[in-house]
Symmetry: C2
Subunit: 391 residues, 2 copies
């Protein structure tokens, strides 16, 4: 193999929506039926690391995910490649000194630092890292907003992982998707004390994929349109304002009711779609009870297209929230990853019914303790060797 | 004890809604936010038997339910007594020969032929029987429609148990509730081959009472109003027409999507209300699969404010539906009550995934095989002895 191997690497974060994306108005371009909002999670706990390389000597586009070569023939990944190469070509056309990377094949190597079996949406971090790594390789001057339009075509929610902190995906209205992109509402630094705890709950049966599920909802739910057109636009304004005001009470309430409404429209679909299971519901009941006891939102739950519970809470309430979780699920994997939590004592607030603790314990396999984090990080580390293959 | 004891007895049926009642616009008068439709079930399987008696010698109004004396001080039961006595008084005023039962105290004895622990809505049959028995005692000439307005004040859905067959509760629009009453859409004889199978599923935790739950939904769900005002009126017309046309395909589809939507608005409430559990959802999945395999609605599921599944199907499909249920839950109580089913062989249609059968089996404790049935039946049997006390 001859020819210089150009390469660039990045990490990209997972994001968990607090105002849910569910439904596409254009399935090819991944244009959503409503705007959404998410919190970007710390890459210490959950991240994709991707190296993109290009060389005249590469014979085809290739991709390795978590050590296994995968096809690059999918429409979604091809759309990303095409758009990024077109951007690179504009640079090359104006500067003949540049290597013509837009004409070289790409080798991409990508790895997650979390178990894929956990059922955590890894496609968002994956496509964000893919787009960001190639953009770095191509030395594209485009803003994260502009790149987010491309990541969106890979996986809708990936557009939000181009930013850290608190992120909105503005649905846009153009048919070509040019105005459907992510923007940052607030940086991590503006509201740094947002913590997250993910309770990994195993699904008892194969779930409906979100791609199939959301279009089932769009096509069959009689409540969905009202949600997308009337309810979400109002919540979007309220949640954006709550984030800017660092108003956790409002942010948390909206997060919970929007998660519940997302699962409500899933259930209103035909056939009905159920992502939450009995364990998920017991966690909801536990958090609702604790919030009621304290007379405020101590923790807010949200559930994506699966049974896992994600809890958001403020750092100051860590002793309450983590103390409770230690009482409920003391033995699960994950506590050991955060030695700082070792000093928190298991505590059950008076008034919490402990009879469901055993059922929750049976259903939860792992806890991932995390918090708000930054966007993609360029790194000099590389997953690719001098010959353009996975190390 | 002296004084003649006047008495009259009736049975009244359970009804299971196919277009759900959920939400009151007037909680005192039990005026609903939308019209609803139900099928009245056979009293061979589920009924309340009530004797009402009156005597000058009774010292107070008294009520015995399933062998236990209960208070009659509740607003709902008092509303029924007051309305029925007023109707009786009109008769007495025009005919001085009549005994003045309207001024006597009442002794009521009531018994169900099904275990209350089964979590089956017994209040509908209970209040229908109470109103019908007192109306019989008072020899009221009023139509079941008129009596249904009174039963409605006892328990909303009780108004539908004044009729057999297929029954609508027209929500009405008057503030005094005078036009909120049940009417019969079709008699049992017009569509006699409707069968029902109730799978009794135990709840893992105490459920939200429907009285509390529905007002939580009315007050907090942002999707509920759209359901009540836009979705249900259209479905009401479609389901009424399907019943008159004996169009099970349409009837069944509407029944399923309306059950799902009812549970969707429960989930869209704050705090969210969950009545279905993992077993309920596995039953939904099973029925959806079977209907897909057959390419038509073989059975339609519906769930009230609890985890029990009610399946409606046509008699001709008994071998398919009961054959499947025999394969899934062969050992539960209830099969023995219908010796006619002994000849049906356990049969699993090709394409049904049997891996969930064990989970369903673990969650279902009983099957009640029933079908469409008649309205309240006057009977000469009595639950009260010559002294006006329970036999």
């Amino acid at each position: 193999m001859t020819g210089k191997v150009y390469s660039a690497s990045t990490t990209a974060p997972v994001n968990i929506a607090t105002l849910k994306y569910w439904g596409k108005r254009d399935t090819k371009l991944n244009l959503p039926t409503n705007s959404s909002i998410s919190v970007t999670l710390s890459q210490d706990d959950l991240r994709t690391f991707t190296t993109a390389s290009a060389s005249e000597s590469f014979e085809s586009d290739r991709l390795w995910l978590n050590g296994k070569e995968e096809s690059v023939q999918g429409n979604r990944i091809q759309a990303c490649f095409t758009e990024l190469r077109a951007m690179r070509k504009v640079l090359e056309d104006t500067n003949p000194e540049l290597p013509v990377l837009s004409r070289y094949h790409l080798h991409i190597v990508s790895e997650n630092n979390f178990p894929t079996a956990a059922g955590l949406a890894s496609s968002a971090a994956g496509f964000a890292a893919l787009v960001r790594a190639i953009a770095n390789l191509f030395e594209l001057p485009h803003s994260p907003e502009e790149l987010s339009r491309i990541a969106r075509q890979g996986s809708g929610s990936a557009c939000r992982s181009l930013f850290g902190g608190y992120v909105a995906w503005e649905m846009g209205h153009e048919a070509d998707g040019s105005d459907s992109r992510a923007v940052q509402i607030a940086t991590q630094e503006m509201w740094p004390d947002m913590k997250g705890a993910i309770l990994v709950i195993s699904a008892s049966k194969k779930e409906t994929s979100s791609t199939v599920g959301m279009q089932t909802t769009v096509n069959t739910s009689s409540l969905f349109k009202y949600r997308a057109e009337v309810v979400v636009p109002q919540r979007f304004k309220e949640m954006s304002a709550a984030i800017l005001a660092k108003d956790f009470e409002t942010f948390g309430k909206l997060t919970m009711i929007d998660s519940n409404q997302f699962h409500a429209v899933c259930m209103d679909s035909s056939p009905p779609i159920f992502y939450m299971n009995d364990t998920s519901r017991l966690v909801v009941g536990l958090i609702e009870t604790v919030n009621k006891i304290y007379g405020r939102v101590v923790a807010a739950y949200t559930f994506d297209a699966g049974p896992n519970a994600v809890l958001y809470y403020l750092e100051k309430d860590g002793p309450i929230v983590l103390g409770l979780l230690k009482a409920v699920i003391p033995e699960v994997d994950g506590w050991d990853k955060k030695p700082s939590t070792a000093s928190i004592a298991a505590t059950v607030p008076e008034g919490v019914d402990q009879r469901n603790f055993a059922s929750i314990r049976d259903g939860v396999s792992r806890i991932i303790l995390t918090g708000v984090g930054p966007g993609p990080q360029t790194t000099d580390d590389s997953l690719i060797n001098g010959e353009g293959l996975p190390k």
